[in-house]
């Protein structure tokens, strides 16, 4: 039997190259006006970027406080995904649970009686704006220490009263300037800024800093839903 000649093949090499070139061009043009492969680009480069961010993060290093005179009360814009939820501070409870030895709940008075920390830091939004803000509240690591994480707990989930949800790496959560705050610019925190209790930290982008936090859950793994904006396509680590 004779072997088939090149021209008998279904696709010659030249034809295949022509076709792949054409379909490649179609892919490129078809991407115009859409997100143009940003998801694919992200899946390749975000792991690299995240490992650099983890490397840069020194869990003990304090970000220098800015002077009180640097506070920009007008610059802190209000962002939320569906308005401000109504919360009664009298009946508010924060629940800390998950992969911990001791789950507990605290009311606002109990939270405010814990040793508090104040910081003046730059709050940086993913949109590009930033505002110098003074925040006052309880270091998250004190709450986590009270709950005694089980070995293997590596992530912290935050649930908010409005349905917003977030997750952080434990290292960033244990940073001394990652606070659960009830005070802003010398005043009690206002409802639109996250009262009665919100996350605040200089080392993460604004969308990581959940407002109206009602539940803190330690986990050993990251679940498919990592955060409201992350699930729409934003970076998860979002370290500053």
């Amino acid at each position: 039997m004779e072997s088939p000649s090149i021209s008998d093949r279904l696709l010659s090499r030249r034809r295949l190259l022509q076709l792949s070139g054409l379909s490649g061009l179609g892919l490129v043009l078809g991407g115009c006006g859409t997100s143009l492969y940003s998801d694919q680009v992200n899946s390749v480069f975000e792991p690299l970027n995240q490992s650099v961010e983890e490397l840069l993060l020194n869990p003990q290093k304090l970000i220098p406080n800015l002077p009180l005179s640097a506070i920009e009360p007008e610059a802190l814009l209000i962002n939320s995904f569906q308005g401000t939820p109504k919360i009664d501070p009298q009946s508010y409870l924060l629940s800390v649970n998950g992969d911990v030895e001791r789950s507990f709940t605290l009311n606002l008075a109990e939270l405010q009686s814990m040793p508090s920390t104040s910081m003046v830091i730059r709050h940086v939004c993913v949109e590009g704006w930033a505002a110098v803000v003074q925040w006052g509240g309880v270091p998250l690591r004190d709450l986590i220490a009270l709950a005694k994480p089980k070995p293997g707990a590596k992530y912290v989930y935050f649930k908010s009263a409005d349905g917003y949800y977030e997750s952080w790496d434990l290292v960033s959560s244990m940073h001394p300037q990652t606070l659960m705050v009830y005070q802003k610019n010398g005043q009690p925190l206002s409802p639109e800024n996250g009262a009665p209790l919100r996350l605040a930290s200089p080392i993460k982008l604004g969308y990581k800093q959940s407002k109206w936090v009602t539940e803190i859950t330690l986990t050993k793994q990251l679940y498919p839903m990592t955060g409201y904006w992350e699930d729409k396509g934003y970076e998860w680590f979002a370290g500053l």
Partner: protein, 203 residues
């Protein structure tokens, strides 16, 4: 100039401009990565315009890459590696190979501009001066970008520029600067060495 005689016919053809393969690679990667950085950067700009904030004027869609803020960021923080590392290896290359002394603006170029009489030599000096001057501008774009990308870990960069807004403005200014440079650089290259010179850096 007005009464000077027509230049004498050249006795020999000018030498064909020679570019090393590494210079061509740098030039290509620089152009492509800058194009990605600028278009994705303008996409990020639109989320909160540097001038005017929310409600400020936004760049039209044909100049944008990424489709929305997250997509623009994904492209920006991928292309940054190519842009910055390209500058890094090229910087090492011109230092080690001493191209820094031969292929970039030097004292003799400044002298030609100040006291020289030969207009061709002067144009050449301007050309070299221009592409030398863009390098610190590109490095400044990396520095200001790093300051905005990691403002907590590199808080000293933000401090260096005084305020967040100043940092944003300086980072953004690199866009019109690079675009203007590209135009003038192309025209200067055309004037100094014609299409032969332009072709030599690409192919």
């Amino acid at each position: 100039m007005t009464s000077s005689p027509a230049p004498a016919k050249r006795s020999k053809a000018p030498p064909i401009p020679h570019q090393t393969i590494l210079a061509k690679v740098f030039h290509w990667v620089n152009i492509i990565s800058l194009l990605l950085m600028i278009t994705s950067g303008l996409q990020i700009y639109n989320a909160n315009p540097v001038f005017g904030g929310r409600g400020g004027w936004q760049f039209p869609t044909p100049f944008l890459l990424g489709g929305w803020l997250a997509g623009g960021r994904h492209w920006h923080f991928a292309a940054m590696w190519f842009f910055a590392l390209n500058l890094l290896w090229y910087g090492l290359y011109i230092l080690i190979s001493r191209r820094w002394q031969r292929r970039f603006a030097s004292a003799s170029d400044l002298k030609a501009l100040q006291t020289g009489r030969n207009p061709k030599r002067k144009a050449y000096a301007w050309h070299r001066l221009l592409y030398t001057a863009v390098i610190p501008i590109l490095l400044l774009a990396v520095l200001t970008g790093l300051g905005m990308y990691k403002p907590a870990q590199f808080h000293w960069i933000v401090d260096l520029f005084g305020s967040w807004q100043a940092l944003r403005v300086v980072h953004f200014i690199s866009v019109p600067t690079v675009l203007l440079f590209s135009l003038v650089h192309s025209l200067m290259a055309l004037r100094v060495g014609g299409l032969r010179l332009i072709n030599s850096i690409f192919w």
